[in-house]
Amino acid sequence: MAYVAIADRPDELHHPHSFITKYVWSQDHKVIAIQYSIIAILVGLIALGLSFVMRLQLAFPDTFSFIDPSIYYQSVTMHGMIMVIYLLTALFLGGFGNYLIPLQLGARDMVFPYMNMLSVWVYLLSVIVLLASFFVPGGPTGAGWTLYPPQAILPGTPGTDWGILMMLLSLAIFIVAFTMGGLNYVTTVLQARTRGMTLMRMPLSVWGIFTATILGLLAFPALFVSAVMMSFDKLLGTSFFIPAVLSMGDVLETEGGSPVLFQHLFWFFGHPEVYIVALPAFGIVSDLLSVHARKNIFGYRMMVWAIVAIGGLSFIVWAHHMYVSGMNPYFGFFFATTTLIIAVPTAIKVYNWVLTLWKGDIHLTVPMLFAIGFIFTFINGGLTGLFLGNVVVDLPLSDTYFVVAHFHLVMGVSPVLVVCGAIYHWYPNITGRMLNDGMGKVHFWMTFIGTYCIYFPMYYLGILGLPRRYYSNGVTDFIPDSVSAVNIAITVSALIVGLAQLLFVLNLITSLRFGKKAEQNPWRATTLEWRTPEYPPGHGNWGPELPGVYRWAYDYSVPGAEKDFICQDEPPTEGQGA
């Protein structure tokens, strides 16, 4: 087997010459990562604001005159869409993917830096189109983030004139941006690893991001196709998704379309999307736990295979979102089975995280607090998934607050906890300064306890049968008075959690200037991103020569070693295996 030299082409790096090429039109993966992250976090803060509109209305109906039903539904829709796609997908893959993949694999940059640069600017364009829909006549779409037709494009739903088209256009642009970035991430992982960095020596962060990107490249096409079809239904009057229907008292000319087709296409994208958000979180949290517990990750190989297995299975579970859609009931049996099977690799991962902590030298640093918080939140959100995955249990719980609580804990709060932990962990690598520890701890406890106060009561509301997405509950027999008290408590908690996020943003900004100077490798981690000759890493990442890798990423507390961690690029010494 001939050894193929890994291409190392410093001559093809585009060296920046001015402020503009260095920080604006930059082709450096680290700058692009920061650009992605800043845009994503800003747009995420808007989505956080929209959730307060919802919560205020639910807790204090008839109090805020500016929240009419249209505003409420538009807030619901835009909150969901922004959080899932424009914040979490972009931040995990565009932000952390761009930053970590070349640094952790020992590459100088992504394989096609110019396309990488285009990716972030096209992403910004999609965000601008999305936000512009707030200012068009009729406002943004209020169809719910799932955009189910026929209601998404027929009169009666807010934003059916312009809003829905802007949304579909923005999604299509986002998919183009994601594809350009995603091709880069996958190709870089496959082709541009440094000497010694075998796939089975990659840090789990990269494994998670890598698998999630593949999922994205295969799942976003379905969203793209459904967006094209729906915009034709809206613009040209075709009937892909619109059956013969009576709308506002008029019989429409459409007939023969299939709304369920949209749901299938949407969820063929939508379910892998859950794992596009979750898998990078799984990977990153594994690394955080291992570093801050000073112990190797438990069952590295199993962790890798679990990530891959979850990724594969995520493509055959989509219709568990559609048990009440009127599809063939036999489908429910199949999709319930696959859904429950996916719990097996997921449970393997949870056990391995816990076993990594077992007898570890746990340092309760801020990243570690977030990582442990993630385990708790993920178990809570994940176990209720078993209820919803079974058809008979799902039917009464469908479209209630039980569902809201489940997916917010499992794919909202859990990944966000990892995002926060990861930012506390890698901020020194990016800026050369530490984030403020005290503010970080306040941020963690307010977020962790606060989100439980928000979502745990929602399980109770859901079991009562309280339907989600309702503007106002009105007077109904099965809804006791206590519900409004619970709603007020939830809203107050939500506002407090929101404040905590502002504290986090404040910390991010002030630490840039006033943060304690970070020594290189402050967490004593083994991975390559802490081993760059310049610190923080400079353009091209490595000096004249790429690092060589001799071991996996988890050599913590190796018996007989002089330090409690051995970096990946340290050659083996006598008496100790690689």
């Binding site: 087997m1 050894y3 193929v4 890994i6 291409a7 394989v111 096609f112 594809t179 995603g182 091709l183 880069n184 996958v186 190709t187 496959l190 082709q191 541009a192 690893r193 440094t194 000497r195 010694g196 960095m197 075998t198 796939l199 089975m200 020596r201 490249l217 295969l218 799942a219 976003f220 096409p221 379905a222 793209f224 196709v225 459904s226 094209v228 079809m229 034709f232 040209l236 009057g237 075709t238 009937s239 892909f240 013969a244 000319e253 459409t254 007939e255 023969g256 379309g257 299939s258 087709l261 299938h264 296409l265 063929f268 060589g548 890798v549 001799y550 050659p571 083996p572 690689a578």
Partner: protein, 231 residues
């Protein structure tokens, strides 16, 4: 133990037979696929694009099954008369023949590229692009005939189910867009071949990458042909 042996991870490890060898090969520290980066990326892109076309075609099948009006018979709709009786699918047959021929000339261009034959490569790519452009031209003719003469619209048509026009214009339009982009792509690469850009670079791999895209577009057409015109 020499440093290189440790680094490559293969020096002191016997190469396994069978499946284990495949896994070992893939997960080694070398490039997973022994191809240039651009080619690997094109393969991954085409995989993603395959999912787009699959979703279009599966969506079309579902729409065709659930349509309430009868589906028009493609061999009658897509018939062309040259003075005598209408010949079913004749235009589509010619278009298909042209596109498949263009794949042949593309394959030859790649071959001559590897021989560093600058002129022949450029000419063959130009022929490929011209064949592609004539395909798009015939498609425009087909569309015009359907729209102007037969009154087919995306939202309705006189022959039956409205979804016939919707899916037809959407899928062939999206494919035609791919062909048009491919023609531009081929022309750009052909110009670079002609000006000797790849001679200076020392490799004609970009010609092959463009070829991959072109063959893909061609292959997609075979599926559209089978599922739309022959079904």
């Amino acid at each position: 133990m020499s440093q290189d042996a440790v680094l490559t991870g293969s020096g002191d490890v016997a190469i396994q037979e069978g499946l284990g060898g495949v896994v070992g090969d893939w997960s080694a520290d070398k490039q997973t696929f022994i191809v240039p980066w651009g080619k690997a990326m094109m393969w991954i892109f085409l995989l993603s694009d395959t999912f787009i076309f699959s979703c279009f075609l599966i969506g079309y099948m579902k729409v065709r099954i659930s349509a309430t009006d009868p589906w028009p018979i493609p061999s009658e709709v897509f018939a062309l008369s040259f003075g005598g009786d209408p010949i079913p699918l004749i235009l589509i047959a010619i278009m298909t023949f042209i596109l498949i021929t263009s794949s042949g000339t593309m394959a030859m261009a790649v071959n001559f590229g590897y021989r560093q034959d600058r002129k022949t490569t450029a000419v063959l790519m130009l022929i490929t692009a011209l064949l592609g452009a004539s395909f798009v031209g015939m498609q425009a003719f087909e569309w015009t005939k359907l729209i102007v003469d037969e009154g087919v619209r995306p939202w309705s048509n006189p022959m039956g189910a409205a979804q016939f026009g919707s899916t037809f214009f959407m899928i062939t339009g999206f494919h035609g867009l791919h062909v048009s982009c491919g023609v531009i792509y081929l022309l750009v690469v052909a110009k670079r071949v002609w000006t000797g850009f790849y001679d200076r670079k020392g490799t004609y791999e970009t010609v092959e990458v463009a070829g991959l895209y072109w063959h893909f577009v061609d292959l997609v057409w075979v599926f559209i042909f089978a599922f739309f015109y022959l079904w």
